[in-house]
Symmetry: D3
Subunit: 340 residues, 6 copies
């Protein structure tokens, strides 16, 4: 088994307890997370040899992020240490008609200020099997965009599979800039993962007849999106997650997968939400697991959707569920009966 | 913009954590609230110049109540200091078929023992735009009833708009006494707010065909109630909130408004409840905001209902939501999607 | 009124906070519970003279279990003190599609290692009215099976009513062994309580057409189960609880009662779950209360189902609800409206 | 062994966490305590048959107080149920130069409003061995003073030993009134317990050369105090506790005992304080235990001082230490080495 | 009474619970503080009309900082809103031989990025009586240094008293730069406050014979320091605080004051520390209070030292003690006896 | 650098919050620790390649113990998975005259039930530099004694240095048995660590003139002890820690080292205790670090004593301090001044 490398930012998440609003918080729950780190933890949970690559300060807060990754079995030995800040995001949990709210304080973090020479990608990809990143990483800074481009090129050269979750963040960059930068990077990708809005926001590729805020989703339209992405970037797989937001407490969740030839649609779950942050990342990790573990395309998709369905019941960014738990759900037991 | 004055009691609320029963509590969460104080906080949140008038002891617990009001931008400079007790209510949160339970320990509080001479209403209403109180205040003691009557008369004299939320509390007084006292006071009111049972319990004015415990509501009947109230007290507005209690966890919520001529009906929300205490107060505050900020009658009503829908997702008595948040919901986005 | 004796194990339950997974826990909530202890607490809540019999170590953890029983009015004076361990179970709360998970660490507990001579059943049943135990107790050890057999024989001799909740636990023994041991013990019982799977797992008596994991239940089949149990063991009553697991968060709940002649079916509740552990025990306690307090068979069943419906809204193993609360629900008020 | 009866008020204590000030508290720790209830719990811990007599409301907060007493083995069967309020005290823990602060909210509690006919002292003292109360009880109301006088008279008649801890509270009554009321009651007492200031504040009997705030104590002076008390009230024992307040964090602690003939002085402990509330009560309980369990006068005193020294290390009002623990300290092991 | 203006940064302080190390924290306590904000809160506590001037983001975290100031009575109406970050400091509490540890994450905060045109000092100083800042503010950025210089010049022009706490922070600037910038600013000051090391680190003015780490302090040397500062900057008052660090748990604390003519030395307190952050700020606030409230120089100094002694017993940056509490300690009662 | 192997049990420690007694606990803090695991964590903190060897169940509680070790950088890849129980100890923190109390529930743990064939010591010691264990491990079971003997023999064979902390536990075995078993095992050791009582309890070698409970220690006597141990077992080093228990809150701490020729005595620290569990283990780890990192004997001893002094300020079993922190204290800075 080769190494599964993910690259990006891991942030400190500061969250009021339960459903408290920011103004009421006297404590903040402190967990660590970020798109690619979340994927790494999932892969480690499923038994893969997961590495997370980033840059983190040497001080105790940087170390705490490292410790959290180690705790869950992620190899942290390729994390570069230096810089001043651990990026932060404040996260208030919503309920019913009140949405969750995220305030980012991630500018000037160690990874956002990292330099190309901080990373030796050739060495990193030695014996690697998969490389995953999200559209957040190149959005952190121009240098990060350059580093990501270095990475995907090196990955290709090393014969490593490359997956990218588009993950558009309007607070980090404009659609214009995202389209331009990602347009270069995605050329080196094999697998692209997107949600209902990413493809449109980044590449202007949209599914007609979908009203995200209203909660209706047009499945057919997404096939068109997948086909266009595949054609433009010569991808092996495109996966699209479909979230129906009935409220902050209840969501529908499903996904589709396109392998350039066939479309696969997953079961749909109706979830009562504990914590939805990291939902998309857990899908990505499930898909990577499925595609590298001998599952059929349909099963890989079902694994990914079941895994990410379970994520919505887990507090924090990390999807702390086991392979067994994912398989139980994927195989049909959604009854939630006590396991004694 | 003039001052928005509210007058009543602010209590210390002692609540077991989460869904714990009283018998299990080793800590009580401590927040402060009360019908009129809740309205003041909402008005401050929406940018109004909100004042809360009451009497509170000089000791640290009295001061903590003052601090909490100041924290949320309510002007506390007209609060009279003296007396011995801060009123208390113990509040246990229900779930599903188990109702929330409130035990009052508010007798002998500083405000319940206040004297008419404690308040100089003429001064208080200097530059005031609105005066709001609830039926709880005159129920606290005979002297409080007299003080409230002083207040509404002075308000009228000063040309200040007066609103009253009937808020009948059977633990504080009988329907007979309430009817008699409130019959005098409401004469000086411009706006009356009531829920499904208040009008009947206080004035014997009821909507036929409604079974509150059973959860069915007869909209037509409430028009009759509004009309009768308007006729009897020569009111400018009557607003009635309509709660459907499916369970302690899930409620339906809507309202209607009558301006002596037309009836307005709001959207109806189905809410998954975080904390329903203060739901009615948040409606009142939303309505006052709407009626004083250039909204149409329909919009004022929708603002009030959206605001109070959001209250049900906020812990504590105070409705800690912003004008922006209310408007987003009122304008149709109930999807609860994460705001990044 | 005679004594109501229950006999079995009381364990320390260690539970992560809220919906945390075991891997995230830095604290464990510590409560005490166990099938028969739970019944004892309910009976004390309803005003019965409840005794719990077990063996517990003399040290502070054993004492804490005693204290918890005393706190809720259970007489602990017949608890034998000695041995080393308080049995433990770790309990992680599930949500939505993720089931709750229980890890037992109860082997070698003081009661599992107790000896027949530790208990003087003749003395214990002096002035007793009812004896209750579950199928867990004889499963703890061969000696415990012998002690239980001693107990039911002594109870019969003393003219005490005997009830047994079959409560099959596959981690403690095999169906084969359970069938053999329980086959002897149940001969001395008057009332048997079972859930959807117990009768099949213990005695091979099943209801056709029921798929527990899938959530469908065949009411007719259960009548057959009740009839067979009654015939085989010459029982006065058989009660069967029927749980529909829509998810870990939402369940349906009802039950039926058979008195050897007539079948009674209860109302069905749809519950939003706070804590489902002890749900079955709270049913048993409600039934014992009903059958010993002059209620009709139908009312006894409704009392039991309403009581256990409420249990699902209470944290911990114990059903901390009062007779009044059960009666309110049983009489039809499921609206969850705030009780002020 | 006869019953040990204590009579007084049990209050809900609301305390900010750790060293937080009232203004910072978002939760209040909730424990129950009061001079005589504290004594009852200690006596139950030492194996005595302890009863606490009071009046408490029927609601859940009243029940919680009952539960807490039951939890620690105090017999609550003679507690009268009725009235509205559970008395409250807010308690902020001090440190170093900042003193602890107590705000009482106990007026109008169920016991303060109790009537003489609520208590049947003849029945209460049936088979009793000891009766204990403090000077707080008669200070609660004139009726409470009358009830206490009823009690001591009945106790005398029943041949029960009577002890009184003077416990002067200036917030409850004046020295003048205390002197007058207590002057009547103490006539029926056998044992009086006082601290450095009580005798002076209640009876005007003082020890010269003592400066309480300054922390110096004049041992000789206290002998004079004990002698005068004994002479005036014909007492069997007078005990005086001597606290040296170096700071809110560190105190010296010792006591003396006078049996009308000899003076006994205890060891002196220097304590690092965890919670000093209930320190005096724990001394009283230790003394009662000692005097009724065959200890010499010196040992009874040492037991009382060791017990109360340990109280200062226990959170809450109750002195949750065992007889073994008291004896270990009393016999000289103050090393605090881990007990494995 | 005029306005008391303070100007600087208010940060979010994130602190592990109790004595936990950063690596163990799963929650961070969240309070707000900063040198000048701390002074403002103290002044408000003592009844002064305190204003805090800074720049804070409009988002909820910025608002939370504003709320905290309002809660404690500080006028926040002159706070400029804008920018992105609220500065953060992570703070781990030490004990015994393990020192407390602070990690700053304050770069790029709204105030550090503020512009000179953000502040209209002429308006701010309208009706002002006192202006206070610390050496931290000009160290935040070159622009902040310019703004501070603007401020002191405007204060002088408006006839406002100006005080500066030198507060050297080596993480923010070098001694060289500090000396240069502060050399300009302090010219406009009337009062300078320094601790054992500030004068040396900023202006190279030192007290011989003092070994800070070793805990010995040479009082005579500090007179020399005070004299030199006074001479160089033509000051009205120089105050120097003297901390003896026996350990992270126990400190000695005293101060001296020089009015250009006489030296005043305070009492010395030995403190058992709850939270020492903000100790120096609380001294500054106490001194400002004393010098503006008719106290003698000696009493002003004693007030300042007593106030700051008490601060060491209060959690958080703010010194939440009242004028009464300071006066009680200043007048000699350091016994820490419970205040009932 | 070679591997540093430690072998033993890691337990779940369940501890009431703060100074709560067991009877008061509603939550237990959950950390993991054990003599040898504690040493492994310290060594990882100091940069050594630390491995912990044990047997742990596959379930989530076993995994949580593994996660905790990984979090702090200990290599867990040689931990055998299997068995049923994670050993538990309940730990109540003492204060002042009240000692801490430990209740063990470790019988039948996975490691106590492990078999010799579970461990391949030859493989384990491949490339190893040091092997450490304590006297607890062979005391767990006869099989564990045999495994430990296997281990030390294999270590010797592999040329690995072997250290043993005698760590006598009277609850696990008698002095007689300990002496016999350890007498065989210590023959293969190079370094022995003991506290004031171990040598006497295990080998009957005592220091005259020491009264542990009384707190006096006779330094000369310990030289005799060290000499006798060295002579009997042909050791390279004997280290003895010397604890003076003034109270549960304050201890003195120092140690001595004997290399078969010279005696070295350390500085003595007076510590205000946060958590003393693991104090001895942290000394052992410091000594191993010192002896393998080029320090002089005196410096190795000072490092070990400074490290373990700091441990007493850290919550939990693990000594979470860095090499820098140890060196700062060892080099003389015990002032506890804030590190900014």
């Amino acid at each position: 088994m080769g190494k599964f490398i993910t690259f990006g930012e891991i942030m400190l998440r500061l969250a009021p307890a339960g459903f408290e609003r920011f103004a009421q918080a006297k404590e903040f729950g402190a967990v660590y997370g970020g798109g690619e780190a979340n994927v790494a933890v999932s892969l480690a949970n499923y038994g893969k040899d997961a590495y997370f690559v980033t840059k983190l300060p040497k001080h105790e807060i940087g170390q705490a992020a490292v410790n959290e990754l180690r705790k869950y079995g992620v190899n942290s030995s390729m994390i570069v240490r230096g810089g001043d800040r651990v990026g932060i995001y404040y996260c208030e949990k919503g309920a019913s008609q009140r949405p969750s709210k995220v305030i980012y304080d991630r500018a000037y973090s160690a990874i956002a200020e990292a330099k190309r020479e901080d990373f030796n990608w050739k060495e990193i990809f030695n014996n690697a099997e998969w490389f995953h990143f999200t559209g957040i990483t190149p959005a952190l800074s121009d240098e990060c965009a350059a580093i990501t481009l270095d990475a995907v090129k090196a990955a290709k050269e090393a014969g490593v599979m490359v997956s990218c979750d588009l993950n558009f963040r309007k607070k980090l960059w404009s659609s214009e800039k995202a389209g331009k930068v990602m347009g270069e990077i995605v050329k080196y990708c094999d697998v692209v993962i997107a949600n209902e809005e990413d493809a449109e926001k980044v590449f202007g590729i949209s599914a007609e007849g979908t009203d995200i805020t209203g909660g209706t989703i047009n499945g057919e339209g997404y096939k068109e999106v997948a086909r266009k992405l595949t054609d433009r970037f010569n991808l092996k797989y495109v996966a699209i997650t479909l979230r129906e937001s009935f409220s902050a407490s209840d969501n529908g969740w499903s996904a589709m997968l396109y392998n350039g030839k066939d479309f696969y649609s997953s079961k749909k779950y109706r979830m009562h939400i504990v914590d939805r942050v990291g939902g998309g990342d857990s899908f990505g990790a499930g898909l990577i697991y499925g595609l590298t573990s001998g599952l059929t395309n349909q099963d890989a998709l079902e694994y990914a959707v079941a895994a990410s369905c379970l994520k919505h019941t887990v507090e924090g960014d990390f999807n702390l569920v086991s392979k067994d738990e994912v398989e139980t759900l994927m195989n049909g037991d959604a009854s939630g009966r006590v396991q004694r």
